[in-house]
Symmetry: C2
DNA sequence: ATGAAAGCGCTAACAC
DNA sequence: GTGTTAGCGCTTTCAT
């Protein structure tokens, strides 16, 4: 064996290397590697052979600069710890899979400033589109998005004014519908348990829609409890214990997410509380992990997979030119699932 | 208001635009925007002012091509649906936060072919480093990683030969230690319940270490059950029911992950089975959601946050030049947590 | 079907 | 402190 074949190249390989190795011009090598234009089978195989032998990996940076085409889609979400967001990602990835586009994730930790930085960073790579969670952004972020010159899809919330397109559910409506179902089932002393997150606008809107709809039936929230950090399941237990201790005559607990709701459910069952006879329970999100609990917690399915899919579809079609109109609006319908914890008959 | 200030530019802004607007050379504008070299305060503020007014977003593609520096770190993981991976991501993001590096995620769905494609795609952006889950890759993938000329950190498994650096735990050892704890506690008729995933090498290695250690005490797995897809919690229940039905005299159930273990635990408790008296249970991962269950499931904490942090640190230090040696090896110690389901005394 | 020249938007390296 | 020049590695465009 010669040294040459063994020595890994210290300089990354370029098209020129493939060109020289195959005796074909750089331009034609480029054509082969991108499947563009007519190339004879003979040249094609010569080139592919050379590229493979050398282990050539094209430089997308140079390609993107030359063609001003970037096959990246920026996806900006608040967190990865909440399964809701990976689920949306899954829907996005599923659709982009069938295209040449690639999702790139940025995480904001629910901070508008971080969002601004992440957005700036991502836009500086000139992506073909942006998918961003929520409708609330800093002025600077809105300006960047509006001026980016690429499709922007805001997702997971439709209560507000989108910059361009929007896909998601109305959380106010979700809150209202849950409230109505609770009233309809005959509950009257309702408490709310949620996250201590002023910046979780979707949770806030659900809460607003919820109290608003309750008010129509002259019902007010009798107590509430908030938490931050830690194991949500455990927090759900603790919050529930604290709340029931403080306000024993409550008859319904509405949780801002399924995990704390599940904690509350487990706690109630252990305490021998009649669910949903004495106390009804509901969460939010339709996490499929609910299925394994002793009882099916009432919840609202927010269509996250579908949200991801539709958002990706819009970006992909706009990038492909198949769709030219801006300002698409897709409002999905949150699906109420009564489960086994929201079925008490009107007294 | 003049039309000019309103009209959003159809052509993305360039350095030249900022240069013209501020009356400063492109080069100096570039210096200001990157905080490089000496620039007078007067010029600096002129430039920043102009950039801000115009809403200039630098083009990293051009920058990267010119400087051959890319502040991206490719992170390649099998899935986003399993909370384990977002958790590693969190550790990575946490450390990279303090640097100029940005993680970019690629998902392989446990498929070596997909891994190869994702890797090729990511390497074509010439990232400053690669963090990839697992030690098992296709030959082509290994070749790409070895030839990439950037730090490569394989994570979450140390049983095998790394390409460059490695951070994680030994899953064989984790399996062995769990087996020993089970034997020590006096259990003798042990069953295994896991995912039907020939490509989940880490689960496989745990299983191998597990059976190997049991064998030393002349114990064999008396039964096993596998699943794929669906709600893990529910599957845990179903598998447990099926297994107990088929092999009623089993006295220990070892689950390949905490979620199915939790399902099994809930099932056993509902059935009034004495846990851990008649049947002991253990899972794997130390998911913090276990804390909210009626009993603390025995588990093994795999140090995922720390894994992410260490991997990111290695990449960051190598990129910064602070660390020059290749082939770092960091083996973390899996931490056995007996919880309330693995405490039976020797008979 | 293939090649040659120009340039994408920025930064390294060197003047001044 | 600031400006000038020459590419980075590709693709576009036009020629043949």
């Amino acid at each position: 064996m010669s040294d040459e074949t063994l020595k890994p190249p210290r300089r990354p390989l370029t098209l020129r290397d493939v060109s020289e190795a195959s005796g074909v011009s750089e331009m034609t090598v480029s054509r082969v590697l991108r499947n563009r234009g007519d190339v004879s089978d003979a040249t094609r195989s010569k080139v592919l052979q050379a590229a493979k032998t050398l282990g050539y990996v094209p430089n997308k940076i140079a390609g993107a600069l030359a063609s001003s085409r970037v096959n990246l889609v920026a996806v900006i979400i608040p967190s990865l710890s909440n399964m809701v967001f990976p689920e949306v990602m899954t829907g996005i990835a599923e659709v982009l899979e069938g295209t040449s586009l690639q999702p790139v994730v940025g995480v904001t930790n629910y901070s508008p400033e971080k969002e601004e930085r992440v957005l700036f960073e991502m836009l500086s790579w000139r992506p073909s589109g942006v998918i961003v969670a929520g409708l609330e952004h800093s002025d600077a972020s809105r300006a960047m998005l509006a001026g980016a010159g690429v499709p922007v899809v805001e997702i997971m919330d439709t209560d507000g004014t989108p910059i361009d397109s929007v896909v998601g559910i109305s959380h106010r409506r979700a809150g209202r519908e849950m409230a109505r179902a609770i009233v309809r089932a005959g509950y009257q002393r309702v408490a709310f348990l949620g996250t201590k997150m002023p910046l979780d606008h979707r949770a806030r809107k659900r809460f607003e829609g919820f109290t608003e709809a309750l008010a129509k039936d002259a019902i007010e929230i009798v107590d509430q409890e908030f938490y931050s950090g830690g194991s949500a399941l455990l927090k759900g237990r603790e919050m529930t214990a604290a709340l029931l201790d403080r306000t024993p005559d409550v008859d319904f607990l509405y949780y801002s997410n399924d995990l704390i709701g599940a904690g509350g459910l487990l706690y109630c069952l252990e305490q021998g509380i009649d669910v949903p006879g004495r106390i009804g329970l509901a969460g939010f999100n339709g996490l499929d992990f609910l299925e394994g609990l002793p009882r099916r917690l009432a919840t609202m399915e927010a269509g996250r997979l579908e949200t991801g899919r539709q958002a990706a579809r819009i970006v992909a079609e706009r990038a492909a030119g198949t769709l030219t109109e801006t300002g698409q609006r897709i409002e999905l319908t949150p699906k109420l699932e009564l489960g086994d914890t929201l079925t008490r008959k009107r007294l």
